[in-house]
């Protein structure tokens, strides 16, 4: 009890420091990415094994094959059945190849959708554990509809009626992570990262040089603090001193506390409210400017155009 409290206190200070210091230094983002990818870091099966006395894993999308990059099934979690979906990387070379480095194909997302539907049928909560460098870029995956599978998985997560919690436990990159990330509550582990693309991919495109990953990491700032500040995640889950890879049991215990609380809150909410709030949560996310120009809806019609107000002071002056 007291130890949990002191961990909480230290953690709050740590996060507060991260939030209130000026934009994270280059090393911060890069360190977070290295920690998020640490190969001793707990993966979904490590967490699920500690959360559940018993867990039944399910395999196959019933259309093409089984995708080992996604693990899912139903476990007994604190005396109740709960559905789990996780993105699983491998630890040694053979395992990593078997898991395809945690990069799911369309089969993986279709398998995940199977379990989402099962959770709806059984009316049990769903917990997703996100840890992927992105969805797999391969010719076969494209032919079998990688884009559509991700899109439909997102849509299913929006639609699903039961309480849902998504946790970014490692690296969450691109649509491959978001596909199972649209939940009532989104948590991120302290050293987790969540971004639009991996720093390597981003540097190859924006800097035209895959070697500029460090620069890209600093620019994307994919850290837990940034996600929290943007409202992309609802809470940051503390990790054991030095990172989750130092102590799997303690990392699972800390995440367990947060999960239990979120599930309890979500279960207490009327279903309609919960579903509406889930939609509103994602409907609101974003950052834009809205200028006041012209008549009530700033209408432009037909073959005419409007000069863009690139100077924000201009419309204000027209008061």
């Amino acid at each position: 009890m007291s130890s949990a409290k002191s961990i909480g206190g230290r953690f709050v200070k740590r996060i507060a420091d991260k939030l209130h210091t000026a934009p994270d230094a280059t090393s911060d983002s890069w360190d977070a990415i290295q920690l998020a990818r640490h190969q001793e870091r707990p993966y979904p099966l490590d967490y699920i094994g500690r959360f559940c006395d018993e867990f039944e894993e399910l395999h196959g999308d019933r259309l093409f094959r089984d995708d080992p990059a996604i693990v899912c099934g139903i476990g007994r979690y604190h005396g109740e059945p709960v559905a789990f979906i996780g993105e699983q990387k491998g630890r040694d070379t053979a395992d990593r190849q078997y898991r395809n480095f945690g990069m799911p194909g369309p089969e993986g997302y279709r398998k995940a959708m199977r379990v989402m539907n099962l959770a709806t049928k059984l009316d049990i909560p769903l917990v997703t554990l996100i840890d992927t460098p992105g969805a797999f870029p391969g010719a076969g995956a494209e032919e079998r509809g990688q884009g559509g599978a991700i899109a439909r998985s997102i849509a299913e997560m929006v639609r699903i009626q039961v309480p849902t919690v998504a946790v970014i436990i490692g690296e969450g990159s691109s649509g491959g992570a978001l596909a199972i990330g649209v939940a009532d509550r989104v948590l991120i582990m302290e050293n987790g990262t969540y971004s639009v693309i991996s720093p390597e991919g981003g540097s190859a495109i924006l800097w035209r040089d895959a070697g500029k990953a460090r620069l890209a990491a600093a620019a994307f700032r994919p850290t837990a603090a940034t996600c929290y500040r943007f409202g992309v995640v609802d809470a940051v889950v503390p990790e054991p001193e030095g990172g989750a890879h130092k102590d799997h049991d303690e990392a699972a215990r800390l995440l367990d506390q947060y999960l239990q609380r979120q599930l309890k809150e979500l279960r207490a909410m009327p279903r309609a409210d919960r579903l509406r709030q889930r939609r509103e949560r994602f409907r609101r996310l974003g950052a834009h400017k809205e200028f006041a120009i012209g008549d009530p809806s700033a209408v432009v019609s037909g073959r005419v155009d409007l000069t863009a107000p690139s100077d924000p002071s201009a419309p204000q002056a027209a008061k």
Binding site: A135, P137, G138, A139, A141, E142, R144, G145, Q146, G147, G148, I150, A151, I154, A155, V158, S174, G175, L178, V182, S195, V196, I197, L206, W207, F220, R221, P222, T226, Y228, F230, G231, R279, F282, R283, G286, A287, H288, K289, E290, F291, A292, I293, G294, D295, P296, S297, A298, V299, V300, S301, R303, V304, D305, L306, T307, A308, S310, Q316, K319
Partner: protein, 345 residues
């Protein structure tokens, strides 16, 4: 919810009621077909919807030119939410700062963002169209694109009409980091609202539609068409070749191939698009779903003067009903419709 979204709303409630100065649009340019070397003047280009009459090569087309084409060569479309602009949540700098890139794109395209949302009639059927323009930063989807598509859906629901989305995008706008990723979720949520309202969505995929756009709303159309030769993929051929060292065929991910893969309903020549979309809109026509009366429409079309008259009429109607209301509510309403002083909350 942990925090409020970052949203900069400048003076939304105090908009001035006058039609803004409108600059004439840049004239359409001439072009030479890269496949058969036929040359077309700008008039020919507009008349053919930028399709080569010799070999049917589809040139890139700007969003507003496409609107003209869909509206049947008339200029009867109304663009909405032109006032939304990108902000720079990450203070992002790659080879140049993000705001500079946006400004350059604004100047070179005459657009405010990579998507244009408009109300128009296609073959006489009213709809809301969201049309992406690849020339604006590769058609990338940032917060503004997500927001405009979501508002487009909400507008379609308000009017009770279908949505036509024409995509052309390299994917999520990386300069906005994780918030760009969230636009995928935002657009899907908006499409779900369309589903709840029983309204159909027509998606036309044009060259290229890749990444986060193809992996979100673009793949969720009820009717999904593609222009000939359009690249449709989650990962582009170059990324796949680099990652897997596979050599890909030239037609990889092209519309014709995606038709064989079962990912789209048909490949449609751009010149046939208005007729094809019009046909679907006619089949799906549901006057019972259309908003009656479209009050929002009336208000948004009104000039400042007419706006004032409408407001007076509404206020008068409310004043007449006041005596019939319970006192507590009546007081609140009366207070609300009182002419306001200088301070506007």
């Amino acid at each position: 919810m942990s925090q409020n979204p970052i949203q900069v709303t400048v003076d939304r409630l105090k908009r001035i009621a006058h039609i803004p100065e409108r600059a004439p649009r840049k004239p359409a340019d001439a072009g030479t077909c890269p496949k058969c070397q036929s040359h077309f003047s700008s008039e020919e280009m507009v008349a053919n919807a930028r399709v080569c009459t010799n070999c049917a090569h589809h040139f890139a087309i700007t969003a507003r030119e496409r609107l003209d084409h869909l509206a049947g060569g008339h200029d009867e479309w109304r663009e909405i939410w032109t006032e939304l602009r990108a902000s720079d949540p990450l203070q992002f700098v790659d080879l140049e700062p993000y705001p500079d890139r946006v400004r350059k794109a604004e100047q070179s395209t005459d657009l405010g963002e990579a998507v244009v949302v408009a109300e128009l009639e296609i073959e006489g059927e009213l709809c809301v169209a969201a049309i992406m323009d690849f020339k604006f930063m590769g058609g990338s989807m940032g917060s503004v694109v997500g927001e405009k598509i979501a508002r487009g859906c909400e507008r379609a629901i308000e009017l009770g009409v279908p949505l036509v989305a024409i995509t052309s995008s390299g994917g999520a706008r990386m300069q906005e980091g994780v918030l760009a990723l969230m636009q995928m979720a935002k657009t899907v949520v908006a499409f779900e609202e369309m589903a709840d309202a029983n309204l159909p969505i027509i998606v036309v995929l044009t060259h290229p539609t890749t990444g986060g756009v193809w992996a979100s709303f673009a793949a969720l159309g009820d009717f999904t068409y593609a222009e000939p030769g359009a690249l449709i993929a989650f990962s582009g051929p170059r990324v796949i070749e680099q990652t897997t060292r596979e050599k890909l065929p030239d037609d990889f991910g092209k519309a014709e191939q995606q038709l064989l893969n079962g990912q789209i309903d048909a490949v449609v020549d751009r010149r046939d698009l208005p007729a094809r979309i019009g046909k679907v809109l006619r089949i799906c026509h549901r006057p019972d779903l259309a908003a009656q009366p479209p009050l929002a429409n009336i208000i948004s079309q009104a000039s400042g003067e007419r706006m004032g008259r409408i407001a007076d009429a509404v206020a008068e109607t409310i004043t007449q009903t006041l005596p019939k209301l319970p006192k507590k509510i009546a007081d609140r309403v009366a207070k609300a419709i009182e002419p306001r002083g200088g301070d506007d909350r």
